[in-house]
């Protein structure tokens, strides 16, 4: 019975946040990278095994919640191994729900796509992109954030004139 309750609760929490984690290929991400509409995408590359990524995760939970009624979309790109998704990513998200689209990027040949995200990226995580196609914004951040520094950086970036 307890188990059933736990499962139900889990389903409710996940449903409330639309929490799924699809396994995706790079073209899914490419659509966001090359989007031309006036939506600001915040794209965070992370993994459950990455200590600094997990540490900054609450900053992204805050950001998503604060801007939930704006044209802002948060995309959490997990680089966890696809074969370990049920052991790593899914339990993590159950404990740390986030108002974001979570994709597990299953593209093992990192060298074939890292440059397409940003030439300045060597492959270390966490890194974050802030993009708005309509406003010509493409900013890349190769460091981690605190809730305060993320909010400040976000505000500064989206208010940047072309």
């Amino acid at each position: 019975m307890n188990k059933l309750l736990a499962v139900l609760l889990h389903v409710c929490v996940c449903a409330a946040y639309g929490q799924t984690a699809e396994v995706a290929k790079f073209d899914e991400l490419q659509k966001v990278l090359s989007s031309s509409n006036d939506t600001t995408y915040v794209v965070n590359f992370w993994a459950t095994w990455c200590v600094p990524c997990v540490k900054e995760f609450p900053a992204f939970q805050d950001l998503a919640y604060k801007h939930r009624n704006e044209k802002v979309k948060l995309l959490m790109i997990s680089l966890d191994f696809a074969s370990e998704k049920d052991k790593t990513l899914i339990p993590f998200l159950a404990k740390h729900p986030i108002e974001a689209k979570v994709l597990l990027l299953d593209e093992p040949d990192y060298n074939s796509w890292i440059d397409k995200v940003d030439k300045a990226w060597g492959g270390e995580i966490p890194v974050t992109l802030m993009i708005n196609g309509a406003r010509g914004i493409h900013s890349f951040f190769d460091h981690d954030f605190t809730p305060q520094s993320l909010e400040e950086t976000f505000t500064k970036t989206i208010n940047k004139q072309q």
Binding site: W49, P108, N111, G123, I125
Partner: protein, 210 residues
Amino acid sequence: MKKITRFQSFGAVALTLIGALLMSFAPGKSYKIGDNVADFKLKNTENGKYVSMASYPNAKGYIIVFTCNHCPFAKKYEQRIMSLDKKYAALGYPVIAISPNDPAVAPEDSYDELGKRAKEKGYTFPYTFDETQQVAQAFGATKTPHVFLINKEGGKLVLKYAGAIDDNTEDAAKVTKNYLADAIAEVMAGKAVTVSETKSVGCTIKWKQS
């Protein structure tokens, strides 16, 4: 008065030297493909003996691997790194493994823990500790694992390849591009390396907090 001036000029020289040293280790000042690489001297965590590239006078080159104990990506590659040494040491390209992480940040990567791991797993190559992190900075290593292929050319140590071992961290059986092995084959054949740099995901090197 004269004494002070002398002291001041000594101070200035010392500062310039320290500045130059710091600059040479700053990111972006690291080795590029084709550069001559300086030898290093690091302690082998298994036996406390110092290891340099010069410790292998008969080697034709070296596979320098920045790796560590704690990182899941490094763990995925551990067996492959061991296989690399078994295969390429005999061909003149031994593996030298270097853990650059600050144990204050990653306790699993302390000198003692590294040595323990090397013994447990029976590494056939030295697993060294880059305590000052200066070797990692000189090479421009940013993550673990991060490999660098060095070839001896006319007495010089030349950087030929930097990046990933292959194109599939998760599953060695699904590898389709053996970036490092291909580079070694080309170097051994006296050819230019076609893919001399690759990017990959890995654990960020745990730098000392300054």
